[in-house]
Amino acid sequence: MLVLALENHTVCTDLFGYVGIEAVLDQMRRKTMKVGLEFNIMVVGQSGLGKSTLVNTLFKSKVSRKSCTPNCEEKISKTVKLHSVSHVIEEKGMKMKLTVIDTPGFGDQINNENCWEPIVKHINEQYEKYLREELHINRKRRIPDSRVHCCIYFLPATGHRLRPIDVEFMKRVGKIVSIVPVIAKADTLTIEERQEFKERIRQDLAANGIRVYPQKEYDDDPEERILNDRIRESIPFAVVGTDKEHQVNGNKVLGRKTKWGIIEVENVAHCEFANLRDLLIRSHLQDLKDVTHNIHYETYRVRRLNESNMNFSELGLSARPLENGTADTSESESHL
């Protein structure tokens, strides 16, 4: 246990005995549990690809209303309408406010040009809301976070390649939000077909310069890079969703029952739902939020402040110049 000193270059001796610094980890845990968490997820894809089912399977509850229920009389809307629903779910003391933003009408028209525009608009509106709140003089203690943390994009299991609408959407939206592409209704592909399809999709993504989550540039350290590389090698995840349970080998499992067998959703040999769930929820949940806050939001903020020419240091923000001359450095850095 080494103790080093910065700035004054004094080297200290070891920590002998108990101090209690590591108790701060528990303090952090307690605080997170008390505060709760907000998570906003957007699902994009043509109707009938199983978006609502997948979300319900992910969060093991009826979070989204399926649009194919018999009582549903909605016509296909002329434009993409965004529809967001919030729920509070709790697990072992951890409360989560989950907001699912659905995009009915995407890709359903005959002419789908610019169908991403309402989506881009919605995402930017959330950033704008947050920015405004952040710039208030009297700010709330915790700024309500309605920014989209993750966008799941559903690719139909054609087995071929990315379609123009896929490329266009992911190119544009991938710049402002973390996109996780998935192959929907993957039980129509055999394992070999699935591998080939994924390989082709990855090629197409690379060829079009589309960056999906987790982006290579934001890997913080080598460990994370190794972990994320493994994920990057297997995206897009081929998923199957269901909320029905069946008996398999004496256990109750989530699965789709067909004449030729039961597709077990949580069995990694059958489909990659478990991988998706682990990525989104069990391992990278915090990271998704961090990337949204530290990277996408900051990019938006830089653009907005530049647009409106809001350069505070121009007004001589500091009434007193800072003694160590940081006033000068901050001014020169702010002038982009």
Partner: protein, 426 residues
């Protein structure tokens, strides 16, 4: 790591926030662990400010608290004014890395005139807030990488007089209570007996209350720690003893101070409150101290600073005004001001030029006048001289005539004499 962009669910922020029950294990209960793992990678930051008179035991207490030797030299008592001396250390315990900054007040309480003693402390705290604010308002900023230098906890060392607080203490704490979390401690508590200590603590707390000094209260909102925090709140201010020397007691080596009449053990709770301080400051409330600094003290500073600059959330008609509108207005004002000053300067310049011009013209006229005068003088003199010359010439010519006449006469007289001579010879 920011916990600041999370919300307490259940506060209905809009419609449709219904609670749902889960049919199985989803897995987001691992979020606290995810967060903790990220924090471990990033490391933690904690800044303590120690205020107290020279020699009261600040450095020793820090050494004891963090179980290390920070190698601070003894300060002199002859500092002309209070200075703040900050040093940063990287500590590590198991897998937690802590970047600790300890700020000491050097020379506090040593001057003859202590009226301005608190000012350097207030300035230091404000400077750290200012630094953060500037970073936050930058266009291209990197807040998650920012080394947070804001003071999270202020340990105020009270002299163990046994009577009451000094006026310097009251004044200083009053100035700091809205800027930093103050934790008062009684230093060198081994000089006070138990009964005196009890009375001393009561006296101090009542003085703080009656003077309206808001010290840091250990938080009571989390049930896990509410009980211990309430108890600890009742033990404030902590009576501490610091020591890095070890003394053998029984069969163990403990940190203690050895006197002829006994051994004061630092970690013995019946001897002093050191363990309580360590518990509260580090083990239980470090995160809360950091959060209070950010959400309360820093926000207050930010609000005051921006209001001072003229930014408001609502305009005179109480309609909400976006920061951009205010900013634009300010910017216009600022540019108009600049323009005005530029015009003023230009006018002044033109004015000065005119003045100088007329000055020069004046001088030229003067010079011209003098020249004319001299010329006239010169002409007069010349005329006078001409006159003299003429007279001289006249004189000369008349003299010449007279000489000529005289010579003729002489010549005539000579010839007349010659004739006479000739006549005689015959």
């Amino acid at each position: 790591i920011s916990l600041r962009h999370q919300i307490v669910p259940g506060h209905n922020q809009g419609q449709g926030v219904r609670p749902l029950s889960l049919a199985g294990h989803v897995g987001f209960d691992s979020l606290p662990d995810q967060l903790v793992n990220k924090s471990i990678c990033q490391g933690f930051c904690f800044n303590i400010l120690c205020i107290g008179e020279t020699g009261i035991g600040k450095s020793t207490l820090m050494d004891t608290l963090f179980n290390t030797n920070f190698e601070n030299l003894e300060s002199s008592h002859f500092e002309p004014q209070v200075k703040l001396h900050a040093q940063t250390y990287d500590l590590q315990e198991s897998n937690v890395r802590l970047r600790l900054t300890v700020v000491n007040t050097v020379g506090f309480g040593d001057q003859m005139n202590k009226q301005e003693s608190y000012q350097p402390v207030v300035d230091y705290i404000d400077r750290q807030f200012e630094s953060y604010l500037q970073e936050e308002l930058k266009i291209k900023r990197s807040l998650h990488n920012y080394h947070d230098s804001r003071v999270h906890a202020c340990l105020y060392f009270i002299s163990p007089s046994g009577h009451s607080l000094k006026s310097l203490d009251l004044v200083t704490m009053k100035k700091l209570d809205s800027k930093v979390n103050i934790i008062p401690v009684i230093a060198k508590a081994d000089t006070i007996s138990k009964s005196e200590l009890h009375k001393f603590k009561i006296k101090i707390m009542s003085e703080l209350v009656s003077n309206g000094v808001q010290i840091y209260q250990f938080p009571l909102d989390d049930e896990t720690v509410a009980k211990v925090n309430t108890t600890m709140n009742g033990h404030l201010p902590f009576a501490v003893v610091g020591s890095t020397e070890e003394v053998s007691v029984g069969n163990k080596m403990v940190k203690a101070r050895q006197y002829p009449w006994g051994v004061v053990q630092v970690e013995n709770e019946s001897h002093c409150d050191f363990v309580k301080l360590r518990e509260m400051l580090i083990c239980v409330n470090m995160e809360d101290l950091r959060e209070q600094t950010h959400t309360r003290h820093y926000e207050l500073y930010r609000r005051c600073k921006l209001e001072e600059m003229g930014f408001k959330d609502t305009d005179p008609e109480c309609k909400p005004v976006s920061l951009q509108q205010t900013y634009e207005a300010k910017r216009q004002e600022f540019l108009v001001e600049l323009q005005k000053r530029e015009d003023e300067m230009r006018q002044m310049f033109v004015q000065r030029v005119k003045e100088k011009e007329s000055e020069l013209k004046e001088a030229e006229r003067d010079l011209q006048g003098r020249f004319e005068q001299l010329k006239r003088l010169h002409a007069d003199e010349k005329a006078a001289l001409e006159e003299k010359k003429r007279l001289l010439d006249e004189d000369q010519s008349s003299f010449g005539k007279r000489r000529a006449a005289a010579q003729l006469l002489q010549a005539q007289s000579l010839t007349a004499n010659g004739k006479k001579d000739k006549d005689r010879k015959k």
